[in-house]
Amino acid sequence: MTEQNRNIFVTTRWTQVLHAAQSDTTSAHAALEQLCQAYWYPLYAYVRRRGYAPPDAEDLTQGFFARILKLNSLAQVGREKGKFRTFLLASMNHYLADEWDRASAQKRSAPRTISLDAAMAEGRYANEPADRLTPDRVFERRWALTLLENVVQRLCGEYKAAGQGALFMETRFAITGDKNAVPYGEIAVRLGMTEEALRVAVHRLRQRYRRALHEEIAQTVADESEVAEELNCLRQILSG
């Protein structure tokens, strides 16, 4: 783990939540909210795959977030250990079990705590490939993909903010591909850069991506030693 990653860790969201008891509760709450906002879709997909219809899934997801985002539940969350990912899934399972008992009779109307675009969520869910995954696996897979999407979007946003959107779009495939396979000549001409400068830019992009990925994972784990392990986990999730 590099010095830089250590620095990230001081302010990582999940650690903030976990240490809520000792630290600033308001910011911990904000951190949890941000995390929930970033990772609600995997949970929605999970609930849907568990067999709930779209309106119910939406209600359940909202209800769940409402529950864990309650200020007084933060201390309870603070006693948790481990990753945000596993916390979220375990909590959801508890919630569903509770809810199932109470359920069906009355129509729930969960308070809206996070902005969950139901139409978008369902549209996205409907487009997912039919597969043999269990709900747990669906959650994990969606989680990994959401995390990656966050990283890619953030990276793209950073490049755009710096006025280098075109550079990012042209060279983004170099993140995953062989960087020697990039048609540097062609792209350099399109971007009006020298080939050498482009090579440097690609190298930086790959570095920045790697850092962004590590940072994003760091946001969701309790301890820096878990970043590498989580990265391994995510890889297994996607390749499995």
Binding site: A53, A130, R210
Partner: protein
């Protein structure tokens, strides 16, 4: 139809959208920083040691400077003090020496090189290890790499033709010794100041012969290749398709492919990426080179040149026998029934040839129209013009060259041909019009008219530079005037008035016929592929004997499948492969494995449409539609990976399908039905469910409609329904949103059923199949 993309890096299908088109797997892999250990090691951490630093390890050498750093280390220019000669010293980054695979790779590179003494191959002097740092000395080549040459501007075709035979020599020499380079690319091709080519970096060479002999001697366990299975070594743009997909099976023909790419790049300055054009379309070169380059780059190793020396021979033949230019080349094209588009050397020759042909064509047309007998020379010229025009038209209509022309170009060719033929007829029309005006003039102004007429007639001739030859035409004009008159007008004038509309109609007709004509002529009849209805098609019907209850398996189909049960004991498989390019159609291979009780039909899809690192796209590729007749009681198990609808009718045996992207329609089925992972609607009408059969549906993204007999007795299984379940059977206990695994039981009419559903994105409805026969052997349900 949904398209399946594959990741250009890892080759896995990418089913997810988003991530800006990046492959999630590779993104995570990139997070480890292990995607390209070579490049990363050199690119991120490795700093080539300073020459002074190196001097410590090599007291015998005078390190003169760093020549460059590549994927695998750094190369220094040095002087061997004892022998007073220049050498190139290549060292590996110190870090990689710790990795056994790198060390082994290095050892291999050294050994492979040591066996090769050839004027076109960089000679290895020595290799070893100094304080954990791997190195070797090589012949110092005072010159440039082909990469530098290409980057510095361009390599002229002439230079390319001088370089290629030398590469061929080097490769042939190495191949004869069982050594494959595996990484031929401009960076590894050095050219010294005398223009001599030296190939460097046989670093990834796999010593086929040695390994085989060792394996035979029992020293190496079978299969312990030096190339780790699945590990791709090379540079993607120059890699043969099989090198990417099946790295273990690569042989010397991969080098021939890479040479083809390098050759193409030398000629055109570009990489042959995507749907690339033959080199002669891009630059003015001998058209015969197209075939050499394209054949070297054939996707199938068997279709390539089998030996590097063959390329050398071809290139040298082309160099020594210059192509006959202009008309002669076109004449040659006529003799070729395939109408090679490349028969005209390049765009530059097409234009003058076109103008020349048009001129002669129009001139010839006039001669024929006027019906005047001029000098033998003029007659010959006119005839010649017409022939040339037709040849040019034929050649302008592209239909060959590389295989698989897009349809629109064929149509374009037809239209071009039509227009030119129209121009020819128009020539007649123009002359008719001139005569018409001429005669009108004479009719109104007698004496004066002749003078105008003379002028009018001479003008076009003057413009086209053949005025003197028209003298006799003008002189004969008065004779025409005396041909007679109708209503005060010359017969010629009347003829002209009639002729012009005819010419216009003829023009339109020719345009139409011309396009149709070329459409057919220009089809590319390779391997039975024909053009039909705007696409390329290849059809085949095959019949095999099959047991009445035999089993049919169909797999990997991009298209639709229609299966019908018949009373015969044969299976008839009619397949239609169709697509927008003949290339795509040609690439699809259908494997049929007929055995007495089991027939397997399997489509081999081209994994790479374009040969390089671009994934094959289904949109551009071909579709296979099957119409299959099977014995009535056949079992249709193992219908897998179908990207299209499936229609099954009158089949009484077990039906089983999985991974289907499209609607499944089953009619008159009477036995077990098992469908899973279906992206589409399922519509099944079961005719007889009385013998305790089972209907199993899982992972369905779409509505399910099951029509079953009133007294069905069967087990239904489905799971996780994310939609409604409707039933026309009141006694069947189905509720919405039931959790996984809960079994729903109920009665279907007089029968009984057990329902279990899983992963269904859509509605399930049970309906009465009124057309069904009553069950004969109804057994009580579970």
């Amino acid at each position: 139809m949904p398209t399946e993309r594959t990741c250009p890096t890892c080759g896995k299908p990418m089913t997810e959208s988003g991530l800006m088109g990046l492959c999630p797997d590779c993104l995570l892999k990139a997070g480890f920083g292990t995607i390209d250990t070579r490049g990363e090691a050199a690119g991120s951490g490795f700093v080539p040691p300073a020459p002074e630093e190196l001097a410590r390890y090599f007291p015998d050498l005078e390190i003169l400077g760093l020549l460059g750093r590549g994927g695998m280390g750094a190369v220094y220019k040095a002087r061997q003090k004892r022998l007073d000669r220049l050498v190139a010293l290549k060292i590996l980054p110190s870090g990689v020496g710790q990795d056994p695979s790198f060390a082994e790779r290095f050892e291999r590179e050294a050994k492979a090189l040591a066996q090769l003494h050839h004027p076109n191959i960089v000679t290895l002097y020595d290799s070893g290890q100094a304080d954990g740092m791997f190195y070797f000395f090589m012949e110092f080549v005072d010159g440039v790499t082909l990469r530098q040459l290409l980057d510095s501007g361009h390599v002229s075709p002439k230079e390319a033709l001088a370089i290629v035979p030398q590469i061929c020599d080097a490769l042939q020499f190495a191949h004869d010794r069982g050594i494959i380079h595996r990484d031929i690319k401009p960076e590894n091709i050095l050219i010294n100041k005398d223009g001599q080519v030296k190939i460097a970096d046989f670093g990834v060479a796999k010593i086929v012969g040695r390994e085989l002999s060792e394996a035979a001697g029992g020293r190496v366990a079978a299969g312990a290749g030096q190339t780790e299975a699945g590990k791709v070594i090379g540079t993607p743009q120059y890699m043969a398709p099989e090198q990417l997909s099946r790295p273990v099976e690569v042989d010397h023909r991969a080098d021939i492919y890479a040479l083809g790419v390098v050759f193409y790049q030398m000629l055109t300055g570009e990489l042959p990426v995507g749907r690339f054009e033959p080199p002669s379309r891009k630059v003015h070169i001998d058209v015969r080179l197209d075939e050499v380059v394209l054949r070297a780059m054939e996707k199938q190793p068997d279709l390539r040149y089998q030996q590097a020396s063959e390329i050398k021979t071809e290139v040298e033949t082309i160099v020594s026998t210059p192509a006959a230019a202009g008309i002669a080349a076109m004449g040659g094209a006529v003799a070729q029934p395939a109408f090679h588009a490349g028969a005209l050397e390049s765009d530059k020759t097409i234009l003058p040839a076109f103008l020349l042909a048009t001129f002669f064509g129009v001139f010839g047309a006039h001669r024929f129209y006027a019906g005047k007998i001029g000098t033998a020379f003029l007659q010959l010229g006119a005839l010649f013009g017409c022939v040339v025009l037709i040849i040019v038209c034929a050649n302008l209509a592209p239909g060959s060259g590389s295989t698989g022309e897009p349809i629109f170009r064929i149509v374009l060719g037809g239209i071009t041909f039509g227009i030119l033929l129209g121009a020819f007829i128009c020539g007649c029309g123009i002359w008719a019009a001139i005569d018409w005006v001429l005669i009108l003039c004479r009719a109104f102004t007698d004496g004066e008219g002749r003078r105008i007429a003379r002028w009018v007639r001479a003008a076009p001739g003057a413009v086209s530079g053949v005025a003197p030859s028209y003298g006799h035409n003008v002189a004969s004009a008065p004779a025409a005037g005396t041909a007679g008159s109708l209503g005060g007008r010359s017969l010629w004038a009347v003829a002209g008035i009639i002729l012009i509309p005819i010419v216009i109609v003829a023009l339109l007709a020719v345009l139409l016929v011309g396009s149709m004509f070329t459409y057919q002529v220009k089809s590319v009849p390779m391997d039975g592929i024909v053009q039909q209805g705007g696409e390329f098609r290849k059809e085949a019907t095959q019949t095999f004997p099959m047991k009445p209850d035999g089993r049919l398996s169909v797999g990997n189909v991009n298209g639709r499948i229609d299966i019908e049960g018949t009373t015969g004991n044969t299976i008839v498989i009619h397949s239609v492969i169709h697509g927008t390019t003949s290339d795509g159609v040609g690439l699809v291979k259908i494997d049929i494995d007929p055995r007495p009780d089991e027939i397997t039909v399997h489509t081999e899809e081209p994994s790479r449409q374009n040969g390089f690192h671009w994934p094959w796209s289904r949109e551009e590729g071909a579709t296979v539609d099957y119409t299959i007749q099977v014995p009535e009681h056949a079992r249709l198990d193992r219908i897998v990976s179908v990207n299209g609808p499936i229609d099954i009718e009158k089949v009484a045996g077990v039906i089983e399908a999985t991974s289907v992207n499209g609607e499944i329609k089953v009619e008159d089925a009477a036995s077990d039905l098992k469908l899973s992972t279906v992206n589409g609607r399922i519509n099944a009408a079961m005719s007889e469910l009385g013998g305790g059969q089972s209907v199993e549906l899982s992972e369905v993204n779409g509505e399910i409609a099951l029509m079953v007999p009133d007294d069905a007795s069967a087990t239904f299984m489905a799971s996780t329904v994310n939609g409604g379940v409707g039933s026309e059977f009141p006694a069947l206990n189905v509720t919405k949103n039931f959790p996984i695994g809960s079994n729903l039981s109920g009665s279907l009419g007089s029968g009984s059923a057990k329902v279990k559903a899983s992963s269904v994105n859509g509605e399930i409805s049970f309906g009465r199949n009124t057309a069904a026969r009553p069950a004969t052997a109804a057994s009580p349900g579970p």
